[in-house]
């Protein structure tokens, strides 16, 4: 092998880790920028979930979502308002920057709350295609990133980034691939892999600027193992709504009917 060929190859090999690091840094910068732009001290919406099985629509559910704080340090409450038989059922999610979230479910029929275990989060949330884990906020600090390139998704230029949970993060997913819109730094698609197999795909839609934050008003979550999908529509969405910490405790769960 001539020197003219060998030298560039050696340089390329030596530079490869630096290039990989630079791409990882770039990927993290993009995810963190998306997170920064989505930052709000609180959030409230009324969600309508339509569950579609293999043969069509099988159920519709509605909940109210309240969140205080932001990525990695937030608390949220999801409270069902429909269908009638689950009215009042609530989920409290306490997110932590250094580890997986804590979750408790309030069931009015039992008049008590019940801690949801870490390994329980792969289960479908009330028969929807969202798992308990999918309802957590994804904090950039809990993942490692790798830039996979750029791609047009539905004709929209996106960055394509791979994320892997850090060791401190308990997750059902080994890795995820995120498409982030280049125009507004908004997540536009998410694919979740378990044991290297694609198991869930979230497609975002209906982009709208709400109180200065570009937000996808629909999330279409597909469970590729079951062949079903659930469309979540965010209605009456608002950010930075006045809320208090005391609305996000176990006691607060039982104070509502």
């Amino acid at each position: 092998m001539s020197k003219a060929v060998l030298l560039p190859a050696v340089f390329a090999l030596a530079a490869a880790p630096f290039a990989a690091n630079a791409l990882a840094d770039e990927a993290r910068r993009i995810v963190e920028e998306a997170q920064r732009r989505a930052h709000a001290n609180s959030e409230r919406y009324e969600g309508t979930l339509t569950v579609y099985g293999k043969s069509g629509k099988i159920a519709e559910k509605r909940w109210r979502y309240d969140r205080i704080g932001s990525h990695g340090n937030s608390k949220s409450v999801i409270r069902f308002s429909s269908p009638a038989e689950v009215k009042g059922v609530a989920l409290l999610i306490v997110n932590h920057p250094e580890r997986s979230s804590d979750q408790w479910m309030w069931t009015p029929a039992l008049e008590r709350n019940r801690r949801i275990a870490m390994q329980d989060r792969r289960r479908r949330f009330f028969g929807t295609d969202f798992s308990f884990e999918d309802l957590e906020e994804r904090d950039a600090g809990q993942y490692d990133f790798r830039m996979l390139g750029e791609e047009l998704l539905d004709g929209i230029p996106c960055w394509k980034i791979e994320s892997r949970p850090k060791e401190t993060k308990t997750s059902q997913y080994d890795r995820s691939i995120i498409w982030i819109r280049k125009d507004h730094y908004v997540w536009w698609q998410l694919e979740n892999y378990s044991r290297e197999k694609l198991v869930r795909r979230a497609k975002y839609g209906d982009l709208e600027n709400v109180s200065g934050i570009w937000t996808a008003r629909t999330v279409d979550m597909s469970d590729l193992r079951e062949g079903s999908h659930t469309v979540l529509r965010l209605e009456k969405l608002d950010y930075n709504v006045p809320m208090k910490d005391e609305q996000f405790t176990l006691e607060a769960l039982r104070r509502e009917l």
Binding site: P83, A84, G88, R115, Q119, R123, L257
Partner: protein, 403 residues
């Protein structure tokens, strides 16, 4: 009683439109029919029909206040429900009341302080299969294996400070658990002996409880104390008339020191609960260790409920909490899809002398309807708590309209 009804009516029926957004309500009409293939010595009935209408509402007149009310109306074909059109507030009737104020309470909340006063539900403990520390939760045990909680008239003060919560309860009036009727199949009485209910001696004093709960980083635990009375009775013979015995229900003093914990681990979640009881009838302890695990759409809970009996006294009592101790307990739920679930439950006494198995299929239709069909199998020795109900295996179908 009349005052309570008036309060309920004024709070919920006359809710001003301006506060309509602060008003919440829900309820259901439930129709069910257990079918027993075998007759019992004291009950020849095979098919029961039961209907329950429940309405719950809450109203928030301001950010710090909330009022809660709930009523039940029910009837059945088997006279487990009182035929008198009487509205019950205190839940001391032997049969289920036809009309009942299930809950009526007012709540005040500011910052870390929550105070609730009135008839309310108070649930303690973290385990799912048996709760020894759940002392303010009497139950309707008319059909022993399908029971429902009863509310208690109490004042409850809750303080939340960071990761710590202190709960102080003062129950002003005793509420007994409702036990099986002597002429019904869930009361197992000796053959050739007639038992006559001679009423009850209810304790007059209040009941007190204190619970401290701590949330740690990925775990939680609590310590609890209760000083009051057992809501499950002893039977005291008061007279004998030929082959008939008149027995009175007596509710002994009970003091409890308890604790519970939940520790989510990677392979499963460990939940445990234990309580030590001091009673004139003898000291004893109950404990539960349970593991939870999800595999796909299966949710599995399994564990062991144990008992430590210091006095080893044999009392004539009705004690399903102790009856389910010394047993392996489990529950498996499979979510088929958004509308259908399948549930299996089991209890197996460690001696093998009693077993209870239940399976249930449930499916919702549209926004409001749900149908259930299930089967309960009970087998065992007549001397065993579960085995004594061996003639009560049954199938059941149910239909519920929720709103």
């Amino acid at each position: 009683m009349r005052a309570a009804v008036l309060i309920l009516a004024s709070v919920f029926a006359l809710t001003p439109d301006a506060a309509a957004q602060q008003f919440a309500q829900r309820g259901f009409l439930d129709l069910s029919a257990p079918l027993y293939p075998q007759s019992a010595p004291n009950d020849g009935g095979h098919v029961l029909g039961e209907a329950l209408f429940r309405y719950e509402a809450s109203w928030r007149p301001g950010p710090e206040w909330a009022l809660y009310g709930s009523i039940d109306a029910r009837t059945d074909t088997h006279q487990q429900v009182d035929r008198a059109a009487h509205l019950s507030l205190w839940d001391r009737e032997r049969a289920r009341p036809a009309f009942e104020i299930r809950r009526l309470s007012a709540l005040w909340h500011r910052g870390p302080v929550t105070v609730e006063a009135g008839k309310q539900f108070i649930r303690w403990g973290k385990a799912d299969i048996l709760n020894p520390t759940d002392r303010f939760a009497p139950r309707d045990f008319l059909s022993v294996v399908d029971n429902d909680f009863l509310a208690v008239p109490a004042a409850r003060l809750t303080l939340e400070r960071g990761n710590n919560t202190v709960d102080a309860v003062w129950q002003v009036r005793f509420v007994p658990s409702r036990i099986p009727l002597f002429n019904q199949r869930w009361a197992v009485v000796p053959q050739d002996v007639q038992i006559i209910d001679a009423g009850a001696r209810y304790p007059g004093g209040p009941q007190l409880g204190l619970r401290w709960n701590h949330l740690g980083a990925g775990y939680e635990y609590s310590l609890s104390f209760f000083d009051g009375y057992n809501n499950l009775p002893f039977f005291e013979p008061v007279a004998q008339i030929g082959p008939a015995y008149a027995v009175q229900r007596v509710y002994p003093k009970l003091r409890m020191y308890g604790g519970d914990a939940a520790v989510p681990l990677r392979p499963f979640t460990l939940k445990s609960e234990a309580a030590y009881f001091q009673s004139p009838a003898g000291d004893y302890a109950l404990y539960v260790v349970q593991l939870e695990k999800d595999i796909g759409e299966w949710s599995l809970v399994g564990g062991y409920a144990g008992e430590w009996d210091r006095s080893k006294t044999a009392a004539a009592d009705f004690a399903p909490d102790r009856g389910l101790a010394r047993a392996f307990l489990g529950r498996a739920t499979y979510t088929i899809d958004a509308t259908r679930t399948l549930t299996f439950e089991a209890a197996l006494r460690q001696t093998g002398e009693g077993v209870w198995l239940r399976s249930e299929y449930s499916q919702s239709f549209g926004e409001h309807w749900r149908a259930t069909a299930g089967f309960t199998l009970i087998r065992g020795e007549p001397t065993d708590f579960l085995g004594q109900y061996r003639r009560n295996s049954h199938a059941a179908i149910g239909w519920r309209y929720s709103f």
